[in-house]
Symmetry: C3
Amino acid sequence: MGAIVTLTSDFGLGDSYVAAMKGVILSINPGARLVDICHDIEPQNIRQAAFILSAACHFFPKGTIHLVVVDPGVGTDRRAIVLRTPMAEFVAPDNGVLSYVIQQSSAKPLAYKAESREAELEPELEAVAITNPEFWRSPVSPTFHGRDIFAPVAAWLSRGFPPASFGEAVTLLKVLPLSRPHRASGGLVVGHVIHIDNFGNLITDIRGDDLPAETEGISVRVGGYKITGLRRAYGEGEGLLALIGSNGYLEVAVRQGNAADWLSAKVGDEVRVKTGGR
Amino acid sequence: MGAIVTLTSDFGLGDSYVAAMKGVILSINPGARLVDICHDIEPQNIRQAAFILSAACHFFPKGTIHLVVVDPGVGTDRRAIVLRTPMAEFVAPDNGVLSYVIQQSSAKPLAYKAESREAELEPELEAVAITNPEFWRSPVSPTFHGRDIFAPVAAWLSRGFPPASFGEAVTLLKVLPLSRPHRASGGLVVGHVIHIDNFGNLITDIRGDDLPAETEGISVRVGGYKITGLRRAYGEGEGLLALIGSNGYLEVAVRQGNAADWLSAKVGDEVRVKTGGR
Amino acid sequence: MGAIVTLTSDFGLGDSYVAAMKGVILSINPGARLVDICHDIEPQNIRQAAFILSAACHFFPKGTIHLVVVDPGVGTDRRAIVLRTPMAEFVAPDNGVLSYVIQQSSAKPLAYKAESREAELEPELEAVAITNPEFWRSPVSPTFHGRDIFAPVAAWLSRGFPPASFGEAVTLLKVLPLSRPHRASGGLVVGHVIHIDNFGNLITDIRGDDLPAETEGISVRVGGYKITGLRRAYGEGEGLLALIGSNGYLEVAVRQGNAADWLSAKVGDEVRVKTGGR
């Protein structure tokens, strides 16, 4: 059974770019099995791509190769990287698009260095900077490394070449300053909307683990509304509701409706949870 | 050759949900061959999903497994089901999303029970309620049975486990009250728009079989317009035209244009066909 | 390893049509490996499909079969064709959708006959008109040859049947009058926007080869703006910029922005390049 290679990009499905990458991969590894994660990332929205990638990649078999091309810095001096975690391999620009993956593959919170926007990798994570042109298409277009560098590297990885084939080991990778909720006085947890899904559900950076096990008496404030209590499922209750979603984050939804439209909400909006007490 | 598993959902292609289901399936059956039917079903539009599924599934090889996740009741007490027809197997919530499939796999019109919104299956159709958690992911998210119940069940089905592995036989399934044309005096057949496709073609519930073999003198009234005669193809004639489309239904189209925009038409609109005579 | 069959259409991803074609192909050749090029071609936009197909197909392995269904003339007397080039096979309506592929597979510029809108194929290119119904689904819907003629022919091709199986050789195919830049006095090259991609980049018909090797002093005028010099990558400079894109064409882009929106540009707009001197 050929290796699985997933693809994530901001290329959209209305053009030739995704197919060009798939053609390149199949030309190098005809046995590769290609699975799209998402190509409708907003143009150059690294944060959104980082989130969606991390929400999907954990469900793939061990050893899956994830190709990620959201790359506003293509053709500049940003690095290209291969990252190997205990579960999977990633081929991507070094621009923070692997931030959630790195965080979730790490035992400790990332030590984010604000000046360099980098974090040190834990020893379980192996990364190389892609510098060996032997595996690239030639000539390389300065505007489409997805086709000429990332796709070929992913394809050769899928044929069993180890990460070290493609360049030198690195231990610092660019990461985004991932939003995290903080605790305020009066039993408040203050977080933010980090993603809005196709149903208009607001996904926050507040994890179920950030809330007390006893959710009785919890209230959620967002966009001027107050929601009392947590539900289990979207189909429970009426109107606005809050629940712990399938990725473990607190979500705000509307039964059979669109919470983002209802609240005119957007990524970054504050969400305040009052736990227990009054 | 691995089993074919198709996927239909209202998850859209702009998020991680479809990929998560695919990862789950490939983790259980690495040989499964995944084919998307459609993920751009309007959120929670069971009727639209039922139609699109039925318009595609008959063209797949015998034994194909169709996974359908349009599931506004996820996490509530709606049942999850496996349906086996002589041609294929379906894994879906029991909410009517298989209505057209069940109707088209049945020799007689469905006996729809308005009070329970159910129909009795004919003996050729075998259904089970999915109740055996042995095949599910654990824990099951109350908001994403697609990933945690439906996808694993489809994957295990694709590995050859019979439907009975997953739960108890049932003989009554939820169905939608499918719109059907009726005959009125004066040689009228009165139907409705049941689907609007990507070209803006209006697909009605009137089948070619509902019309006389001699279509000379037929006229179609929709949205205040009258169309005279039937054409064979979209490229014949000018302006608004009517024809029998590729699924056997009467369609209203505009040559090189968009009939839904032209007529401001929507699903449910009435379409009146006057057959023969004057 | 099964043959690769790509699919390009204007069917969109919101309906059953693409899946129906895939089901038909897999029913005939269960080993076929299906790859989507693009299904979001604007309805009936033959020129756009021709461009996107040509921008993707060259990256697939030799022998790939490309199925193209953008077919406003379906059911009329337009021909259906199989085209074999040294690199690939194409199954498509004979309506110009293979124009770029034919041009790029030819040593000389196409001799376009304005009266018949056809061009004579060079001997390296083999074409047949699809006339042998033995390989079609039966009955053929006059409105969906994609499902009933093109998909089955592509599937049988992928099983190794030679093009001659499907009909008689032809040497003249319909082509579009492809826009080409012309030279004007004062070192001007006058071209046009031929495509706008997902990022809003304007792709012109001016190839890097049409410009002097020394690009110092070049200026590009489009939509009332003047851009000085060429950049290498989208991430260089600020605001509007021009560069040679990944398919070898001059492009106009905005760093981290959308040039088509900025300039209210559309396909067909004039782009004037002043080379060298002043």
